[in-house]
Amino acid sequence: MEQEKYKIEDVMREKGAYIGPTVGVSMLPMLKNRRDTIVVRPKTERLKRLDVALYKRGDAYVLHRVIQPIEGGYIIRGDNCYADEHIPEDAVFGVLTEFFRKDKHYFCTDKKYLRYAERRVRSYPRRMFFLRVKNKIKAGIKKFLRIFKKKDKKES
């Protein structure tokens, strides 16, 4: 038995895969923060649309989905994110190949999983639309409350 303090790149190089907990909410609803387990292997070829890429943003590791391969890199977005990122090819060093959601083991080549990934990417415009509507409603309520409070102050 061996216990390692890891740097993910080193673990992948040495063991051929990194197996560890998920951290963060950017890949919800597929991966839940600190509940699920990811299996990431070194990138050996150019990633395809729907692959989930591992790269670094500063010192932080990021695991997000490839929305579109482009020349020299990828357009990438988390399943629970609304902003695209342009990531250069050489910044991506790993790819998600398997994961455990709750205790169920999924392979990223499973048809069912790929259908989920496709649906998640395709639903982005609809999710974006609802987010904008939600934000407008929130802003409207805030504005209304502000006016209401000012009115109250004046009267008292």
Partner: protein, 87 residues
Amino acid sequence: MKIKNGFVLRKVGGESVVVPVGAMSKEFHGMINLNETGALLWNFYTEDHTVEDGVAALLAEYDVEEEIARRDVENFCKVITENGFAE
């Protein structure tokens, strides 16, 4: 001895790896690779058992001499305890 909560055993490509979950993943940054015997003992000690219980569990599973089984269990318990995985 009992292994602390907050770890799960995952089988990936024929290998057994223990990874932290929940709050434990904030404290423990690493992965634990186990061989077949280690995986069996890890599962066994997720509930409170003595060294003797562990030896009996190994003997029930493998055709091995008691002395070797005892050595394996004692080693396992020592490493688990020393690394802070035991309650």
